[in-house]
Amino acid sequence: MERKKIIESLIFDKLSEENRHSNTPLYPEVLDSLGLVNLLVDLEYDINDKFNVIIVIASERAVSCTHSPFKTVETLTDYINILLEEKINE
């Protein structure tokens, strides 16, 4: 399976069935701040399990992005994919 699809499916696993779409808004529409914490921390471990790569999703880079990577499932998927790409190429 394509890497982005795997990341997206890991995110879907954390969401209720009706929110399993790439354009689903995450924060603050579907998730409150605690929900976002839970999602991101769980995803760091899921990514580690799946790809054997450690990433920190809530980094300075994420916070300083003009457009929040936590806005939708799609933006989060893209952001994690970039982090993974960089780690794999290190």
Binding site: L34, N38, V41, D42, E44, Y45, N48, I54, V56
Partner: protein, 233 residues
């Protein structure tokens, strides 16, 4: 916590950290420790890492090891600490940064990463080490006590955020204890400090074990955000 619980202790090369390794490995804990330099001791059930507690990448790798090897972390004791007794006007800024990096940034980083791992089991105990200096306002200790005041503030802040995950965060503030941390302080100064205490004596390692045992006990799941100072301070 049960026998075979997994415990991480920072600053284990000597002093309080080393004594905690000895005590908790004997109690059957799986103990992981770290310090900047290697240790000259070995205990059963003890694994050591050489790292600087304020280095994010090294810390993340250490927590990844704990996750992969044990799949859980039950207890974190943030013990790593440095002090520099000096009048403010004679304290180099580099020393202040060093103190803040180890005592404040290190504590924050390890609390943050421990929380992520403990959250997976919805259970955990974190104990930070502060100092009675935050209460006594001693001359020559401004940078050190300010760093420990930050540790106490972090303790309360993390306690609130981590309560949802059944992770308790508390702190212990020992009185002077005969370790390298106080060896650069004159005997007169230590004696005068001890005279200010309601119970006028040094802390013993057993005093520290007693409070940490209380904080990490299964029965202490309703105790969080607290700092216990020894000696009646």
């Amino acid at each position: 916590m049960n026998k075979n619980s997994v415990m991480l202790i920072t600053g284990t090369r000597k002093g309080i950290g080393k004594s905690l390794v000895n005590y908790y490995t004997q109690k059957g804990f799986e103990v992981i420790g770290c310090s900047r330099k290697d240790v000259n001791f070995k205990f059963d059930n003890y694994t050591h890492f050489c790292l600087d507690v304020c280095d994010e990448n090294s810390a993340i790798k250490l927590f990844n090891y704990i996750y992969k090897y044990y799949n859980r972390l039950d207890v974190l004791i943030n013990n790593a600490s440095i002090a520099s007794m000096n009048y403010c006007m004679l304290t180099p800024l580099s020393k202040v940064r060093e103190i803040l990096n180890t005592n404040v940034i290190g504590t924050f980083l390890f609390c943050r990463e421990a929380g992520k791992l403990m959250k997976r089991n919805n259970l955990g105990r974190i104990v930070n080490v502060t100092s009675i200096g935050t209460q006594l306002n001693l001359e020559g200790e401004a940078a050190y006590t300010a760093s420990k005041a930050a540790v106490e503030s972090f303790t309360r802040g993390f306690a609130i955020e981590y309560a949802k995950f059944n992770i308790t965060v508390n702190a212990i503030g020992p009185t002077p204890i005969k370790t390298d941390l106080i060896k650069s302080i004159s005997q007169n100064k230590i004696d005068s400090l001890i005279q200010k205490l309601p119970i006028k004596r040094y802390s013993e390692f057993t005093d520290i074990y007693n409070v940490i045992d209380f904080f990490i006990s299964k029965k202490s799941d309703f105790i969080t955000g607290q700092t216990i100072f020894l000696g009646g301070v």
